[in-house]
Amino acid sequence: MLQRCISAEWLKLRHSHIWIILMVLPVFSILIGGANYCFNQSVLTNGWYSLWTQVSLFYGEFFLPVLIAICCAYVCRLEHMNKNWNALMTAPISPWCVFLSKLFIVGVLILTVQIFFLTLYLCAGRLVGLPQQFPAETFGWIFRGWVASVTVSAVQLGLSIRIRSFAVPIGISICAVFIGLGMYVAKVGMLFPYSLLTIGMGVLSQESLTSIEKTLFYMMNIIFIVLVCVISIRHLKKADVIA
């Protein structure tokens, strides 16, 4: 059943222009971050790591959360428009399939974006003259960034399902990122989904996470995802459908 729902979700993305945003925002992050790196090479002396601090700051702390919020708002907007909730919720599928199929689609989109961002980062590094050998941690940052992205996606999906407006959940995500930064600085970042993104992507600290930290990181992500899914699916089950 979930598979059918996912394939239906895929179909809905046809003829959609969301790809443009998915591709443009990472390019922006790299351009701004890369330019920053070039103009401040006197202080940024740590090669690949320094470049990462610059590009990931813009990407992980701004463009990626916005991108996630846009994706979630988009897949929900399809249903909010033209009474599609009526059709979706009278199809013989359970509400958890409705939610998980959307989360899956957003997850795949963000994974593509992460891989695209990685490619851009590597290209940018070569362009600014960094050595061929780049840090192996990069893969970890990209992967953990994606895991935290799925957590944030679940939260954003929950918001976008309830809030009919396209922009409001995106605004909320921007606010949440700032709160997340504050919580990260206050060392309680593990307790907030948006700070998990900062931790996962290695934005502010490129030091490798200890294995305990890693375990905690994954556990917290799983807890948040399960929690948000349960709340959102309950809402889909219990609340009247307003199409």
Partner: protein, 304 residues
Amino acid sequence: MHRIVSTHSLSKRYGNVYAVNEVNLTVYEGDVYGFLGPNGAGKSTTLKMLLGLVQPTGGKAIILGKEFYKNRRVILGQTGALIESPSYYGHLTGIENMRVMQRLRNVADKNIGEALKIVRLEDQKDKKVAQYSLGMKQRLGIAMALLAFPKLLILDEPTNGLDPSGIGEIRELIKALPHKYGITVLLSSHLLSEIEQIATSVGIINDGKLLFQGSMEQLQSKSQPHIFIKTQDNKVAERLLIGRGFSPVINGKYLTFQGLQDVEVAQTNRMLVNAGIDVIRLEKRKKNLESIFLELTGRERSLS
């Protein structure tokens, strides 16, 4: 006859206001059930409760022999619906919209072509739905509802926004569904004339209460002609006629009789005259469905 839908005291309360109040709906297999009522009477809310889109605050719904909330998926799998205005993804073509629905409902590919053929949209299937006219969107909505060739089809105001030729077409289509495909239809409308032309059974709802439910013939029998007699002294006339086995009802200045044959009318007249009571007027009045409907739903509200 087999009951396809039966609700028991189904209610929906918003705050202190009942949108639907203890409605006992019964739809039999093979029916085209017309659910009639003015705007805001509770038609859509009732239909939405039958589909799980709205949670009832009281009562229960038994659909296809099963309690809805315990068997939601099984029932929805055998039910097609078009609620409020049609649902569609405007950026997708007609056929892509059908494919989305096909995947959600897990039905065979050939159903798509068949459903599109029934609503005569095959030629427009590759056009984006955003560019469809309202009538075409409505027909696409019906095609999506028909996709699984369900046992029960629930249509909320299916001819809304269609032009007269479109209305005629959809009407013929709906009428043919029970015998052609074995589909029982439950449709709502605020137009009496519409229900009159399509439905075999009728339910009339107003202010959340079901005021009448029965076959179309039963409703029409309410419009049987009444005989109105005005005499010099209605009281005496009434007593006399009751004594002779008639059952007159005093209605204002008239005595009224239901279902009187011509012979009996002549007989009544003769009796009254022979008893020395002058007959001033003798009229035959037929109530049309419109006035019955207005009587049931209260005159102060308009039909449309």
